[in-house]
């Protein structure tokens, strides 16, 4: 028998049954919910007159639609306030653990899961949010689902799913100066396009990936969905185990030893089959930046906006972004810098930013927002004195939430303005109607805030 991929091992262990000619019934170990994609699912349960099948496996937080200043005050926007209140009521009525606004564990759902030790290797994890792929960094099969599927999980702890194919992305070699994990994933997306991994689950492998911290691995897996993949995963190793050990919900004592034995079996067998394999050399990766309106439209920061002769979509994107083919982005004036989102809002990201801006000042034209991924990240940043470094540099450190990543709350970028953003999507209007998003790493974002124009971090290091 041929060997199994990491994905196969975890997926197969969770198949409850197989519908003839149809999907699998897949058992879910951990279910995260938030205020935006859950209310209709709870309504569905109410209509059917049922409760949660396994309430202890669902955890809730409020993140998408919360303000990032004055979180102790009532939410001003009526609809947002109602949505957050609805989540609180639903969690109470159905017995779901909620880390709501003001709670010491509140934060972006994909930041708090790992940080609390809820996310563990070998698990199946779902959430009504496409960036659930983030949790794959721990060797979990983690993917985003729609609200009808949220209802399935609440009602039965299972979802009906078709098994995706397996795709391997192997990256080897040391990274160049100024290149971090966000650049790796923007580079990969630019090579395989925004739909290149549709129908697949990705496994990231190779020496470059092995050398990354857990935070950096999460950034990589986070953006799997931007290539169309259902999820992405990385085999757990000593770095993973060290990260998990001692966290709030991590196994302890004998249970830890037992779990660890299982976790150590979670890797792709040497003779396992992948449907597709891509290999990249880390030496080819430079600091990256996007110029268009999907995350696959990325270039090396000192490259020129490419020509695409006959694609109307390409022209539409450049028109929206106010850019010309052949133009360089370096030196372009930028008034907004957003550092945050489930891609880059963990403590390591804030440390990176602080290391660049320490003792310097942002350019006067720039508004620089730093949104920590969770309450715990915010507290830790203050403990480490990062808040002072950021504030002295003129950056605004705010409270946790999704914020300008999707512009559901008041944190929006004005129409027509450029924003260098550490988030994951540069879709039209994503950060506010007419806003022009340029995706980049926290290093590039910090460098840009200092100069007020798109800047190659390597020139100011």
């Amino acid at each position: 028998m041929a060997g199994q991929t990491l994905f196969d091992k975890v997926w197969d262990a969770h198949v409850v049954s197989q519908v003839e000619g149809g999907p699998s019934v897949l058992y879910i170990d951990k279910h995260f919910i938030h205020e935006v994609t859950s209310p209709q699912a709870f309504d569905g349960l109410r209509k059917r007159g049922i409760g949660l099948f396994r309430p202890q496996f669902t955890v809730a937080t409020a993140d998408h639609n919360v303000p990032t200043i004055d979180q102790h005050l009532p939410i001003k926007d009526k609809l947002s306030a109602f949505q957050v209140q609805k989540l609180t009521e639903n969690c109470k009525e159905f017995g779901v653990e909620l880390y709501g606004l003001g709670h010491k564990y509140q934060g972006i759902v994909h930041v708090i899961g790992p940080e609390l030790g809820l996310t563990q290797p070998g698990m199946t994890i779902v959430c009504g949010d496409s960036h659930t792929s983030t949790h794959g960094a721990f060797g979990a099969v983690a993917f985003g689902i729609g609200t009808s599927e949220v209802e399935q999980v609440l009602a039965t702890q299972c979802v009906m799913q078709y098994k995706p194919q397996c795709l391997k992305i192997e990256i080897d070699g040391p990274l160049g100066p100024g290149v971090v994990s966000k650049d790796i994933i923007l580079y990969v997306a630019s090579k395989i396009s925004t739909s290149g991994a549709t129908g697949h689950f990705i496994e990231y492998a190779g020496s470059t990936i092995r050398g990354l911290s857990m935070e950096a691995r999460m950034t990589i897996c986070n953006m799997s969905i931007e290539m169309g993949a259902r999820g992405g995963m990385i085999a757990p190793d000593a770095i993973t185990f060290k990260y998990i050990k001692g966290r709030l919900y991590a196994p302890q004592g004998d249970e830890w030893d037992q779990q660890l034995k299982y976790w150590e079996t979670l890797y792709t067998d040497e003779d396992a089959h992948f449907d597709t394999v891509y290999k990249f050399d880390a030496a080819d990766i430079a600091p990256m930046i996007t110029y268009g309106t999907n995350p696959g439209m990325g270039i090396k920061i000192d490259d020129k906006v490419p020509l695409d002769h006959d694609s109307t979509s390409h022209q539409k994107a450049l028109g929206y972004m106010g850019l010309q083919a052949g133009e360089q982005l370096l030196g372009k004036k930028v008034n907004h810098v957003f550092i945050g989102s489930c891609t880059n809002s963990r403590i390591e990201d804030l440390r990176l930013v602080a290391s660049v801006v320490k003792g310097r000042k942002k350019a006067p034209n720039v508004q620089a927002m730093v949104i920590p991924g969770s309450k715990q990240v915010e507290v830790q940043a203050r403990e480490e004195g990062l808040d002072l470094i950021l504030e002295e540099a003129g950056f605004q450190l705010r409270q946790p939430g999704c914020s300008a990543c999707l512009g559901m709350n008041e944190d929006k970028i004005p129409a027509g303005e450029y924003c260098v953003s550490t988030s994951n999507r540069n879709f039209e209007g994503r950060q506010g109607p007419g806003a022009r998003t340029i995706l980049a790493s926290p290093l590039t974002a910090a460098a840009t805030a200092l100069t007020g124009e798109i800047t190659d971090i390597r020139t100011i290091m």
């Binding site: 409850v16 059917r48 599927e149």
Partner: protein, 197 residues
């Protein structure tokens, strides 16, 4: 869920590739806590100018184009998992989306809401888009039971694939939750016998 019937309707050609769910329904309209009413803001920022007036350039604002079928460029529905995108299309009156490629989560969400994604070859898609732009009155027929899509006026016809299970669900208006609820004992037995973790 309503059972899916054969649809015979005029179609709306939307010649844009990689339409993401943020375009289908922008995030600022996701504050509602029910499933209804999202159609009003379908393609909001393409349909309306910033000050709120309809954008006459956009197909949905052009009287000559209407119907229950949307024909769109490849990689439809990428991006966010928001099911609101499927609800918005359905609420607007769309029952079928035709494209040469669909994003996975969108496809699932659509199927779970009685909205049929019909995947055709790039070649056929190009022909459909081309013809519909010049002949807005032409009708497309989508027959789920025989898995056929046709545009008789242009003598175009093709078979499309759909998973047998999903097809039955759609035809009968039966959803996955009904099925899963009938499996609770099997699920509980699975929990008992887990050999790992």
């Amino acid at each position: 869920m309503q059972p899916f019937k054969t649809i015979c309707s005029r179609a709306i050609p939307l010649v844009v590739e990689n339409i993401d769910t943020d375009q289908i329904i922008p995030a600022r309209f996701l504050k509602a806590t029910t499933r209804e009413g999202f159609g009003e803001n379908l393609f909001r920022d393409w349909r309306f100018n910033r000050e709120g007036s309809p954008n006459p350039e956009f197909v949905l604002n052009q009287d000559r184009y209407h119907g229950q079928i949307l024909v769109a460029g490849k990689n439809f529905g990428c991006g966010s998992s928001r099911e609101h995108a499927a609800w918005a299309l359905y609420d607007f009156g769309i029952r079928v989306v035709v494209s040469s490629f669909f994003a996975d989560i969108f496809k699932n969400n659509a199927l779970n809401n009685g909205l049929l994604p019909v995947q055709v070859s790039q070649d056929l898609l190009d022909q459909l888009l081309e013809y519909l732009q010049h002949h807005p009155e032409a009708e497309i027929t989508v027959d789920l039971s025989s898995q056929q899509i046709s545009l008789p006026a242009a003598s175009l016809q093709s078979h499309f694939e759909i998973n047998a299970h999903k097809k039955t669900c759609l035809l009968q208006g039966f959803d996955d939750i009904d099925y899963l609820l009938s499996q609770k004992e099997v699920i509980a037995a699975f929990e008992e016998n887990r050999s790992f973790a």
